[in-house]
Amino acid sequence: MKYAYYPGCVAKSGAPELYESTARVAEKLGIELVELTTASCCGAGVVNEGDPFLDLVLNARTFAIAENMGLDILTICSTCQGVMCQIKWQLDNDAGLLAKTNEALAKINVQYVGRVKIKHLLWALIEDYGLSKLEQQVVKPLKGLKVAPFYGCYILRPAEALQFENHEKPTSLEQLITVLGGEPVHYEGETKCCGFPILFVQRGTAFEMAATSLNNAQQKGADFMVTPCPLCHISLDTYQKKSAKKIQANINLPVMHLSQMVALALGVEPGKLGFSKHMVSMAKVLSVL
């Protein structure tokens, strides 16, 4: 397995533990990641609100770089995944828009053809690596741990663009948690928004969104939450104390990046997974393993 690796901006800056733990997962599973060092930011749905066509062209440039490498793109951020899938979906279904995009890209001698596929690590583990094969690699099962999956928005909706699983009843995280030996916990809010997109603009609302889902998961007995999105991680972990205060709840729920959870079960030393960078301590979870 070899991919054009698009870690996204946050994993390369504010969430280095995600970047590191993904590297450990790839190493353990023999997945070759060729980083797209010349690719630009996906725009996170924000550049789209500055200039939608610019957003489209910048992402098409990224797709073209991967196409020239002959590889599909692997992401580790739901937001990158969602934005890129939406743009690819638009381009692949609108010949006029594709031509206009390629006309702009021609100025820098780039062309997007439409061959590339974009996959989140979660999808790649299920579709390409295979969960039964992954199960065989588990050396430290998450036995005795109740895990709350947090899908959030961008990896599920809009379903037309993402085309991976039923957004109304997703199971991918649940399947992954199960093969890693953990027990999935269901709660109200696992497919809702973490609040991050409005954290800087409508802070109170964002806090209430995050805290409500965290509180629900905690009340269902979750030992930790897992998310495929580093932006959700900021809302759910970094701001957890502040958001809990907003709804006057006593929340203390550790939140793992997807790659950290997989790496742990594959036997990677917890010390190499950057848990010390989290705001909510993972000590209790790690003591169970």
Binding site: C9, V10, K12, S13, G14, A15, P16, E17, T37, T38, A39, S40, C41, G43, A44, G45, V46, V47, N48, E49, G50, D51, P52, L54, V57, L58, R61, A104, L105, K107, I108, V110, C153, Y154, R157, P158, A159, N166, H167, E168, K169, K192, C193, G195, F196, P197, I198, F200, V201, Q202, G204, T205, E208, M209, T238, Y239, K242, S276, K277, M279
Partner: protein, 317 residues
């Protein structure tokens, strides 16, 4: 035709009798053709005559039978009962969210209508066009945009499932904003883009892009896309909001380094309110997790910058 017995768990509430809502279970024999509305009619006629719900056209046009089916707002007449039962092992039927409950599956939609009305949801006629001997033509391109938005049947599904609206009552919601965009894009409307300026105080920046409104709309109106389009138009507003600062800072960051610079994005958006997170920033710094404000540009950054110049030209934000 093959039938299957399906368990319907329905929220019941009779204000004269019940202190709070409760659930009642019904067993219904359904076949593949039946919708959730067919099943509800069956229950009402054969098992529980007092079960109350709105319905009218049975064809996905009037929008009356919107309700939560297995947790998500849908039109009961457009939703196949067997599909829901197969997906979730049964059918949970509840009233729409974000509106007060009146009885059983009937909610008070006045809250929804109030929000729609806030956006002046009608054409403000441009009187300079009055008396013109020419037709007031709308081009195909213009019709493609506003026509799609005009498909909205005001069922309230998007409003029901809007996550922001749960916590932010100042947010007028997806249907209202989609309706505003419908008139902004109508060349016969006198207000045009002026409508957008009023939106900044009405929750234009409260949408999180959760895409529930896109997913749950039975007419494929995609309100979230309309909201993004309104935000683009709002850049000429005389009253710049924090949302605009956020977009501008993001655009600058990608142009400068090709990547998002979290530190400068935060500072440029939050400005003096950054102080509210001083404690958090300190903790992040101690954990070696505070993003650096200095980000090295990606290799070939000149390609990104030349695309900025090409596309934005003189209107660079």
């Amino acid at each position: 035709m093959k039938t299957q017995e399906v368990v319907f768990r329905i929220l019941r509430f009779t204000p004269e009798r019940d202190e709070k809502p409760h659930y009642q279970t019904f067993h219904v024999k359904i076949d593949k053709r039946m919708t959730v509305l067919d099943a509800l009619e069956n229950i009402k006629h054969e098992q529980e005559a007092s079960l109350t719900f709105r319905r009218s056209c049975r064809s996905g046009i009037c929008g009356s039978c919107a309700m939560k089916i297995n947790g998500l707002a849908k039109l009961a007449c457009k939703t196949r009962a067997s599909t829901e039962a197969d997906k979730q092992g049964g059918v949970l039927v509840e009233p729409m969210g974000n509106m007060s409950l009146i009885r059983d599956l009937v909610v008070d939609m006045s809250e929804f209508w109030r929000e729609v009305d806030r956006g002046t949801p009608w054409l403000v006629w441009d009187e300079t066009l009055t008396g013109s001997t020419k037709e007031n033509l709308v081009t195909n391109e213009q019709q493609q945009v506003s026509g799609k938005l005009a498909d909205c049947i005001m069922c309230g599904c998007c409003f029901s499932d809007c996550v922001s609206r749960v916590f932010d009552k100042n947010f007028n919601g997806p249907a209202s904003l989609a309706k505003i965009h419908r008139f902004v894009t109508d060349p016969r409307d006198k207000e045009g883009v002026k409508r957008v300026h009023e939106l900044v105080g009405m929750g234009l920046w409260s949408c999180t892009h959760c895409y529930f409104c896109w997913s749950q709309c039975p007419r494929d109106v995609r309100p979230v896309a309309a909201i993004s389009a309104l935000r683009v138009l709002s850049f000429n507003s005389l009253d710049p909001s924090q949302g605009m600062h956020h977009v501008n800072a993001f655009m600058d960051s990608v142009k400068d380094s090709g990547m998002l610079n979290e530190a400068t994005l935060y500072l440029k958006t939050m400005r003096w309110t950054t102080l509210r997170d001083f404690d958090l920033i300190l903790k992040l710094a101690m954990k070696g997790k505070a993003p650096s404000p200095f980000r090295r540009p990606i290799p070939k950054i000149e390609e990104v910058r030349s695309l900025y110049r090409l596309i934005l030209g003189g209107k660079e934000k």
